[in-house]
C-alpha cells in the first residue's frame, strides 16, 4: 500500500452539461475516492468561467475543484475515469502536500524570526530581509547593511 498524499483535482465540465450531470460526476468522483481508501477534504465549484482559449469547440466551462487525500493509484484511476467521461473537457491533478508543507514551514520560520527580534528588543523587521528568499545578491545586501 503506497502512501497517502494530498491532491487537488480540477476538472472543467462542458457548458452543455446539465446541473444533474455535474452533480452525478461529483458523486462518481467521491465514490472512486472512497472505494480506493481515499478521503475527501473539500469541494469547490467555481461555476461557469470563460476559458482562456478554446478547448475543442468550447469557449467556456464549469470548473470544479476537489481536494482529497489518497494514493497514486487513486489519482491514476480518477484521471482514467475523467478522460473517459465525455462531459469533462479538461482535468488536472496536482499533488500539493509538499508545497503546502514548505509554505507552512517558511511561515513558521518567519514568525520565529520576528519573535526572536521582539525578544531582543529589536524592531520586528530587520534591515536585512529576514527570510532566506534572497537571491544571492550579496553585494547589495551587504552595502544595505552598512548604511
Amino acid at each position: 500500500m503506497s502512501e497517502t498524499r494530498l491532491y487537488e483535482l480540477v476538472y472543467i465540465v462542458s457548458p452543455d452539461a446539465t446541473e444533474q450531470a455535474i452533480a452525478d460526476l461529483h458523486t462518481q468522483v467521491e465514490s472512486i475516492v472512497a472505494r480506493l481508501h481515499g478521503e475527501m477534504v473539500r469541494t469547490e465549484t467555481w461555476g461557469r468561467r470563460r476559458l482562456a482559449f478554446k478547448i475543442g469547440k468550447h469557449r467556456e466551462g464549469t470548473y470544479v475543484l476537489e481536494v482529497f487525500n489518497g494514493t497514486g493509484e487513486l489519482t491514476k484511476e480518477l484521471d482514467r475515469r475523467l478522460k473517459v467521461s465525455d462531459i469533462v473537457i479538461r482535468q488536472l491533478i496536482v499533488r500539493v502536500d509538499e508545497e503546502l508543507r514548505l509554505a507552512e514551514r517558511t511561515r513558521a520560520r518567519r514568525q520565529a524570526e520576528v519573535q526572536r527580534r521582539i525578544d531582543r528588543g529589536l524592531p520586528p523587521l530587520g534591515s536585512r530581509r529576514s527570510s532566506s528568499d534572497d537571491d544571492g545578491r550579496d553585494d547589495d545586501a551587504a552595502s544595505g547593511a552598512e548604511v
Partner: protein, 101 residues
C-alpha cells in the same frame, strides 16, 4: 573631501555600466537612475503561489502571454521558479492563455 571621493567611487561601477549602455545608443552620458527592483512575493510574504488564482498571475503574463522574465519583473529566483510552475498549471486549466495573437 573624503566624502566626495567615496561617492565618486560608489558611482564608478554605475557610471561604467551606463556609458557602456550609452555607447549602444550613441554616446549618451547621462547616468541612468534605476530603482532597485524587489521581489513582489518576498515583500508581500507570499509562501505559496497558487495556480488557481489567475488574477494574481496575470501581471506576469503580459500581452503575448509569455512569462515575464525576472530581469524585468525583479522577482527573486525562488519565486520565479514557483511562479513558472503556477503559470504552466494555470495554462493547462485554460485559466491563462498559452499565446495570444
Amino acid at each position: 573631501m573624503f566624502n566626495e571621493r567615496r561617492t565618486g567611487q560608489g558611482a564608478g561601477p554605475k557610471g561604467r555600466g551606463s556609458s557602456a549602455r550609452g555607447a549602444d545608443k550613441g554616446g549618451q552620458r547621462r547616468p541612468m537612475f534605476r530603482r532597485r527592483k524587489v521581489c513582489k512575493f518576498c515583500t508581500d510574504k507570499v509562501d505559496y503561489i497558487d495556480y488557481k488564482d489567475a488574477k494574481m498571475l496575470i501581471p506576469f503574463v503580459p500581452e503575448r502571454a509569455k512569462i515575464l522574465p525576472r530581469r524585468i519583473s525583479g522577482v527573486c529566483a525562488m519565486h520565479q521558479r514557483k511562479l513558472q510552475t503556477a503559470i504552466k498549471r494555470a495554462r493547462q486549466l485554460a485559466l491563462l492563455p498559452y499565446a495570444t495573437d
